[in-house]
Amino acid sequence: MLKIRNLTKSYNGNQIFRNFDFDIEKNRITCLLGKSGSGKTTLLNVLSSITDEYTVDYNDFKNLTYSYIFQEPRLLNWHTVFKNMLFVLDGKEAKSKEAHNKIMNYLKMVEMDKYKDYYPDQLSGGMAQRVSIARAFIKDFDVLLMDEPFKGLDPTQKEDIMDEFLNMWKDNRKTVLYVTHELDEALYLAYDIYVFGGKPAKIVYTCKNAYKMTDKEREIEREKIWQILKLQI
């Protein structure tokens, strides 16, 4: 279990979190579900230390290593796909022969190995996002953070990419914290689902072990969460 206690964080004078407590199970995919602007991304940025302007009493997340799949691919346009992968590896590791094989391996898993010498601006949005998913897995991490990584992909592509993601995840089963506003995505990928809401943000609903549910139970959960989300406008 990874815990954070009494997190308080303001942004532009608005209090986004006040005495916020949060636990996630290790080696699982946990999903944070909520409307945009509910503080989901802010929480990921606090956990990954992208921002350090916050106060907290207890924080398990502080000294962990992270990979992060952002909403946009965030690739370096002036480097090839291959060099983009190399960029996140450590200097020593990047020079080794295994690095090359490792990169090609992960690119193959997202079906991007043929494009290793392409530049990001020559790729479609979906292809670029595939690269950024491969990049996240090539790095050794304790926790993988994902911020609506499948947003803006067309539906058929989205399913393929989500399955590729699940396949890669099943290789190491590390801790994943995943943020989205798409209920169906959450029910498809997550083990535990937290619904976010309010200002300052609170967890308004918890659905544990979603992966074990029968189809019928899942339908009931979907309806419940849907009602909660609907009220949040």
Partner: protein
């Protein structure tokens, strides 16, 4: 292909305009024809002093430009990352921008040798456009990419090389392009005033004294040609990095 033909046609058009003008004026002293200019150029080229003048001018132009580029690159990066440094440097940039080039040339002649003065003025004038662009490039660096590198714990040197330098490149090349065009004009103007032993500017002034208008035209043509060649070489160097990508796109 079509645009290339059109470009050639445009050059031809202006050559014809020039030819007609010289025929209408019909005074070689005022407006030598293209033919007279070319023969004058050929005559100048038969003398070794022509090449000395070219060589010395080019040395002043290129070395001034390169030193300015190196300084602007380093200071631009520091200023782009540090607001205090930027504010400290800004009066210098403002002064260089608004002072007439002639003031700098005259001061440089007072302070330095005739040979060195054009180079120094060239350096000073080339600095601001490159510096401004480098600062802009650093400031324009995508915050999101920097956050990404932070999460993945990329080492500072690699962040600089991979992110800052990459986003800087288009700005740097734009600034250097502007400065290169400036270098040719400023250095030659400074030579006209400083009158060093060898230099295109010196020859321009001599031609004026001797009322050799055709020579003025011939030297001017050489300056334009050199400027064009160097801008072309520069373009090739800059595009070299991206060339591969462009080729890939077509398959």
């Amino acid at each position: 292909m079509k645009s290339k033909l059109l470009k050639i046609a445009a050059v031809m058009l202006w050559l014809i305009v020039w030819q007609i003008l010289s025929m209408v004026i019909n005074k070689e002293l005022l407006m030598p024809s293209p033919y007279v200019t070319i023969t004058t150029l050929a005559r100048l080229m038969s003398d070794s002093s022509f090449y000395y003048a070219m060589l010395y001018s080019l040395l002043r132009i290129i070395s001034g430009f390169l030193v300015a580029a190196a300084l602007a690159f380093i200071l631009g990066i520091i200023a782009g990352l540090n607001r205090t440094v930027e504010i400290l440097i800004s009066p210098f940039i403002t002064i260089v921008r608004s002072t007439p080039v002639m003031s700098f040339i005259i001061l440089a002649i007072i302070w330095f040798s005739y040979n060195l003065a054009p180079l120094v003025v060239n350096l000073i004038m080339c600095f601001p456009p490159i510096y401004d662009n480098v600062v802009k490039g650093i400031k324009n660096t995508d915050r999101k990419l920097l956050d990404m590198a932070k999460v993945y714990k990329v080492k500072p040197f690699n962040v600089f090389k991979g992110i800052y330098l990459g986003s800087l490149m288009p700005f740097l090349s734009a600034g250097m392009n502007t400065a290169l065009g400036l270098a040719f004009r400023v250095a030659v103007a400074a030579e006209v005033l400083a009158n060093p032993r060898y230099g295109i500017g010196t020859r321009l002034l001599q031609a004026k004294y001797n009322l050799e208008t055709a020579e003025v035209f011939a030297w001017t043509f050489m300056i334009l040609l050199l400027s064009y060649i160097f801008e072309y070489i520069f373009k090739l160097i800059i595009e070299g990095g991206r060339h591969y990508a462009q080729n890939k796109k077509s398959d």
